[in-house]
């Protein structure tokens, strides 16, 4: 993520933070941003879920992810050592300073889109955090110990729905297939590491995401078989989220999320 420093500074406007990012800081922010943005997306469902039980489940998933983000931002603040906390990272960075995957910022769409997005991410995040429990960085390992339990549940929950929708009715299968077409291209980005991250994984501080691909593919194959889904092929594999080059959707999400905090900088809430 060597390009990110210029990118971040170049992307700064108005009240945004100025950050000097090291590879470890970028890595931690990226994982925090994944969790926050996906948690925020899930929270958009509140009051509008297809059944009351799922209303509660979606809120649980969102709360877990926001909780993970908070721990990771706290650690990011410690790594940076400039006195910044979760509020600064979440509310006072501009879209190009966010490092989340393009997948997690994609709009909720219908329930099939939301659940498939969650499944594709959880099938990665579950083994990712489990591997991070024994990675070299002690703080990340402690966060991972909590996150891996949560993501194992997320994976079960989302996989259950992918199977239900894939196997359920003609309409649910059709909607799930549309969601798969839309989201599949964004999955490749999960397994990419830039030079900074590669150096961290070589040193054993973090894990190499590419190493998780076989595990992820096996989960996908197992669940898709039960859901009667065909794993798409296709060449198009957009990326850039880790480097701050996002889809148009993130700006809108952040405009909503940040507007109140940014309208009153420096105050307590």
């Amino acid at each position: 993520m060597s390009g990110i420093c210029e990118q971040a500074v170049g992307g700064k406007v108005g009240s945004a933070l100025t950050l000097a990012e090291t590879p470890l800081l970028s890595h931690v922010l990226a994982r925090a941003d994944d969790a926050l943005i996906l948690g925020h997306r899930l929270s958009e469902w509140t009051g509008h879920a297809p059944l009351l039980e799922e209303e509660l489940a979606l809120a649980n998933l969102a709360l877990d992810l926001i909780g993970q983000a908070r721990l990771l931002y706290e650690y990011a603040g410690a790594i940076e050592g400039a006195g910044h906390g979760e509020g600064d990272f979440a509310y006072f960075r501009d879209p190009p300073q966010f490092h989340n995957l393009l997948l997690v910022e994609q709009p909720n769409g219908d329930f099939a889109m939301t659940m498939l997005r969650h499944f594709l991410y959880a099938a990665f995040a579950d083994p990712y955090w489990r591997a991070m429990v024994v990675a070299g960085d002690a703080t990340l390992a402690a966060i991972a110990a909590k996150a891996e339990k949560e993501m194992a549940y997320h994976l079960r929950h989302a996989a259950g729905w992918v199977i239900r929708l894939g196997d359920g009715t003609e309409e649910s299968h059709r909607r799930l297939a549309v969601a798969l077409d839309t989201l599949w291209p964004f999955t490749g980005e999960m397994f990419l590491a830039d030079a900074g991250e590669a150096a961290l994984s070589d040193a054993g501080t973090v894990i190499d995401p590419a190493a998780l691909r076989p595990r992820w593919e096996a989960t996908i194959a197992r669940v898709f078989a039960e859901a009667n889904l065909t794993r798409p092929g296709g060449e198009w594999a957009p990326s850039g989220g880790r480097a701050g080059r996002h889809s148009e959707h993130l700006g809108h999400l952040l405009a909503t999320m940040q507007h109140l905090a940014r309208s009153h900088p420096g105050v307590r809430w």
């Binding site: 509660l56 199977i163 239900r164 359920g168 809430w269």
Partner: protein, 328 residues
Amino acid sequence: MYTQALDTAEAQSKPADTAAAARFQARIDAEQRIEPQDFMPEAYRRTLIRQISQHAHSEIVGMLPEGNWITRAPSLRRKAALLAKVQDEGGHGLYLYAAAETLGVARETLVDQLLAGAAKYSSIFNYPTLTWADIGAIGWLVDGAAIMNQIPLCRCSYGPYARAMIRICKEESFHQRQGFEIMLTLCRGTAAQKAMAQDALDRWWWPVLMMFGPPDAQSRHSQHSARWKIKRFSNDELRQKFLDATVPQAQFLGLTLPDPALAFDPETGHWRAGPIDWAEFEAVLAGNGPCNRERLEARRRAHDEGGWVREAARAHAEKRRAAKARAA
């Protein structure tokens, strides 16, 4: 629709067994709990179904005004707390519907009544949440008023409802403190934050006083409910308790209650509010509050758009059952 369903239930019930009815009232008078399998007069059952389902609907509709600020909460701590609070409300709805189901009515039937506009829910949720301070005001005032209403319900004669209320009241007290803490933070913050808090209080105060329902002289349901120990305090008694508890809290916050006639009566030791605009209350109940249409529309949309999901879940479960039966 609601009334029709009730009429049917009444028509099918057997002629009143006066000896059983007397035994029932004696149990109530002895402060014994009535359980689902026990005899109960049809009117008692109907009253409870109406009250518990309205309460459940209020929790579900109440998720909307607060949910309106989850995506804009100004800190991650507040975002998580608000999301958890709204989730609690969904949970309250769920176990209140379950309590109503013990009286022999299906959750789907009750939800259909809500979506058809035939069932009532608390009038307060037909007001908009316009600023972040409204989240504080709702927690402090709306949950505060709900607690006044609900604590006596923990001793309600119907067991499943009373037990549900014990859990709900614990969570509501937490929400109320959280709301007050939001208000306190705003009032100790910048001038703009304090103005936001005052504006929220100005808008929520009167609708919250209306939450306790019409004055005792005009309340239609109170007499039976009192005899059956479903309702232990009158609307006006509860409103007075709330007023006495809340006025000092507003003073502590340094906010002004929007009631020029508000005065302390040294003889009785009670605060006296000015006249409540019951015409506004009636208008909101009749469907003409600021957000009635939007709230119902949001619930209908969620229900309609979720139809294919529920259908898929049913179809999948059916296929699983069939496959299991074939294998057996």
